[in-house]
Symmetry: C2
Subunit: 300 residues, 2 copies
């Protein structure tokens, strides 16, 4: 067994082996891909896979919550692209023997999220296997009012903001993520985002991805990072930076005019800098590089 | 544990819980969905999930063959819709601890199929889990020369043809399926298919699905069914009807003019009849209903 790759290494390995699709506007490494379809159309696509024991504990939460979460985290990727949901496909592997009550609960949960965010089921494929429940969902969307928004486009001097407090999601909130679709569309309507992503793996792991795609650095101000009320008394900032599964949006945008209110609540957390300045956390004690200690889906 | 549902019951359970997406042209129960995107565009989407121990034996075949097969069977669904590949997304669950050599072999295999059929990678998501390797692929395509071809549209009197001999794929051929994309596009160029699907689960299980979607019956002539050379001496017809994983196309089309040659080799196997006539196999001993004994991905 050769050493486990990180998720970012997997992405590189994939990207290096494939030519860019002729109609693909972004390339691998964003939350979504945008694909030209015909003369006029663009569709936005993204896949996220959830596994029992990693993203939820099926025995504890039940099929309905698992189904809800699986679709919601996929919708969060469409939010990152400020796009509108059109529908989703689901590939499921049920633990053998496949249980009717489980699949009905999963379908109920997905249907609940589907109705809430207007994202109907387009089809799918189901199997049974000798392992945990796997839900692989692909969402399809259409570009929102700014067209295709991605991790690329942040500029030095931009403000970095998040759409909500971070950390502590594993106390239970991670099971009911709120994909920030309405917020993303409102931000796009206001032409605010230069670059955007959703925070699924923790700010410390996700921010470097946005910086890499934009070719910039970042300076996060520790005092500004909003810590979620779910975080306990200990190491509050570390939880906010590293816990992951927040599903808030990270937005790079021009500074707001003095006194101007953003269209949705935004918490500024820092600034975009030049790439050479690195990705740093500023505290009362000075600046230090941010270590990506967030969630890695391939780590043990 | 409640009784295991069949794959068709799962599809019904899903379809009953979701409204049809506003831009969806087909509805659940076809090989693909066709989705209107913008004013002019239509994208074709489909998901197929493959699991180690069910669709391939990773220890025996290796990652490269698994990667090749996973993409190829998905492309077969695009062929069923006579559509052109635009790209694919991959959701993978690697057995823990995630092994770099395995993921590189998987990527190599997918890249090989991707190049052969012109279907680049658009993105994906990778996880590790306490179970077998899972590869969930979603393909995105564009309509071919006939627009959206589906399981719907077969008419009584149509000829039912297949694009190649059936049966015996588990002798090894199932690992290297040939998605009939070029054949499907040639058939569509000739305006031949009224309805089409790919034979993944065996003619006996797949034909009733096409009949259900078209609202027709079918009469298969046992003497006409082409049996693959991989099938041994015993129960040759049963293997051709039930083995599955042929990935040939089943095409309902108007009878060819006398002496006319189809644009690609076609083996006529029977006729479309009225729904009331059922789905029957005609042999020298008379007619009998065809029992769907093919591959069910949820059965034990």
């Amino acid at each position: 067994v050769s050493p486990a790759p990180s998720e970012d290494e997997w992405i590189e390995a994939i990207a290096g082996r494939f030519e860019r699709a002729p109609g693909a506007l972004l390339g691998i490494g964003h939350d979504t891909e945008a694909l030209r379809v015909g003369e006029e159309g663009t569709c936005i696509v993204s896949t996220d896979v959830l596994v029992d024991g990693r993203h939820f504990d099926l025995a504890a939460c039940g099929g309905r919550a698992a189904g809800r979460k699986a679709l919601a985290v996929n919708l969060s990727d469409l939010a990152a692209a400020a796009s509108r949901p059109l529908g989703f496909l689901v590939g499921a592997v049920l633990p053998r023997p496949a249980d009717r009550a489980l699949f009905e609960a999963l379908a109920d949960g997905m249907a609940e999220t589907a109705r809430r965010y207007g994202c109907p089921c387009l089809g799918g494929d189901t199997n049974a296997g000798d392992g945990p429940l796997v839900l692989a969902i692909t969402v399809v969307g259409a570009p929102g009012p700014m067209g295709v928004v991605s991790r690329k486009g942040a500029r030095p001097g931009d403000v970095l903001s998040v759409t909500g407090p971070l950390g502590g999601s594993r106390r239970g909130r991670h099971l009911d993520p709120v994909p920030r679709i309405a917020e993303a569309l409102a931000l796009a309507e206001a032409r605010l985002p230069h670059a955007m992503m959703d925070l699924s793996d923790g700010l410390s792991r996700d921010l470097p991805r946005l910086c890499a795609m934009s070719g910039v650095g970042a300076r996060i101000d520790a005092a500004l990072v909003p810590v979620h009320e779910d975080v306990g008394a200990e190491e509050r900032l570390a939880h906010a930076l590293h816990d992951g599964e927040d599903y808030e949006l990270l937005v790079a945008h021009a500074p707001l005019a003095p006194g101007a209110a953003p269209p949705v609540p935004l918490w500024p957390v820092g600034r975009v800098t030049a790439a050479a300045d690195g990705i740093v956390l500023a505290t009362g004690e000075g600046e230090a590089p941010i270590e990506p200690r967030g969630w890695d889906h391939l780590a043990d």
